[in-house]
Symmetry: C2
Subunit: 222 residues, 2 copies
């Protein structure tokens, strides 16, 4: 018993909040359980009691926020697909990009903090972390890749998915580094930037036999 089965006090939430902040500020390894439990005003043993280990705590911190972000993305995508007309490329990209940007620039610093953790997760190639996240993220990325492929029917889906990696990189980097600029402006720029980039794909008619083996990010974190 012990792990996972509880929903009682604010202890586990307080741990998650403080851990999220400290992970973003100092990194996973550099943040000690004593630091977390002290700031959260809980006992040192509470982390191992409620989560099982430090590693499990890291994963828990991620899943909590990622669920919200991806839900927002998919909600916007569903809304797009519900209408009769096929969605424009810009609209699909906007559904993917804007929720992330908006979340990052939330009034409190929560979003910005979390996005720096996300960038860290890309850097730290932590096997457990990737495994935990891929189960959630894979679904989302597949749906967006499919929606984009539908707006660019002439193009190879693998190629599109590779380009999507560019967008993810630009988005992640921008979210982690950007200051307190106007989030709407940033989202506008990135959507336009990405749409133009995708639109510049050469037509497959003159495509020579090139390998698209492409073990890109898609297979690692989504």
């Amino acid at each position: 018993m012990s792990h996972l089965a509880t929903q009682s006090t604010g202890t586990v939430d307080r741990i998650l909040d403080v851990a999220e902040r400290l992970f973003a500020e100092n990194g996973f390894h550099a943040t000690s359980l004593r630091q977390i439990t002290q700031d959260a005003e809980v006992n040192l043993a509470a982390v191992n009691y409620h989560f099982g280990s430090k590693q499990a705590l890291i994963v828990a911190v991620f899943k909590r926020r990622l669920d919200a972000l991806n839900s927002a993305r998919l909600a916007r995508l569903d809304e797009l697909l519900a209408s009769d007309a096929p969605p424009a490329l810009e609209a699909v990209l906007d559904a993917f990009v804007r929720p992330a940007i908006v979340f990052t620039h939330a009034s409190d610093e929560t979003g910005h903090r979390f996005m720096r953790i996300l960038l860290r997760a890309f850097a730290d190639q932590d096997a457990d972390l990737h495994a935990a996240l891929s189960s959630e993220y894979a679904h989302v990325m597949r749906r967006f890749a499919a929606a984009i492929a539908e707006t660019l029917p002439d193009h190879c889906p693998d190629r599109i998915r590779r380009q999507l990696d560019f967008i993810v990189g630009a988005l992640t980097h921008t979210m982690a580094e950007s200051g307190h600029d106007d989030p709407g402006q940033i989202a506008d720029d990135l959507v336009r930037f990405s749409a133009a980039g995708l639109g510049s794909l050469p037509h497959p008619s003159l495509q020579t036999a090139n390998q698209v083996g492409a073990k890109g990010t898609l297979e690692i974190v989504r």
Copy 2:
């Protein structure tokens, strides 16, 4: 005495090589000096003797490779600017992107390893590291931003610099995550992608008064 003043045996080089590998594999904090010195077959105290501290070793690992990469970039940019005709946007972007991609996909795994460290440096917002790198990188980024601004004379330089952040993000992410695909193909795609994105900048004529305060990545690591 002690620090920095030596160039004797292969001890310091052996430490740098092993440290670079382990930092890329496990991160800075997760890599211990005992691990490094054991793999390098040198004494534990050698790191503190030759570099002064673990932090100084981290910086040293970076500077060694970054010098080579940025030199290659600037050499290609100079070559471009030397010709009479003003360079095309794609050519400037290529001079920035391709050396990084090629270096990342070097025959040995050195390049790929190092690029994962670089991504880690973006994630870990280490003050000392940023300070050490900015002194070198700032020069390079300023020159490329200027060259790009010259090929897009109508546009606001601040805006261009912000777009350059998108490219850096896409490049860094791609280099850190991409497998053993064809590097030339990746560079081609990214250059075309970036050029199209930059080319889609709206003309300043209809530019409303929007702030471009933009404390982007440029000021942090270059």
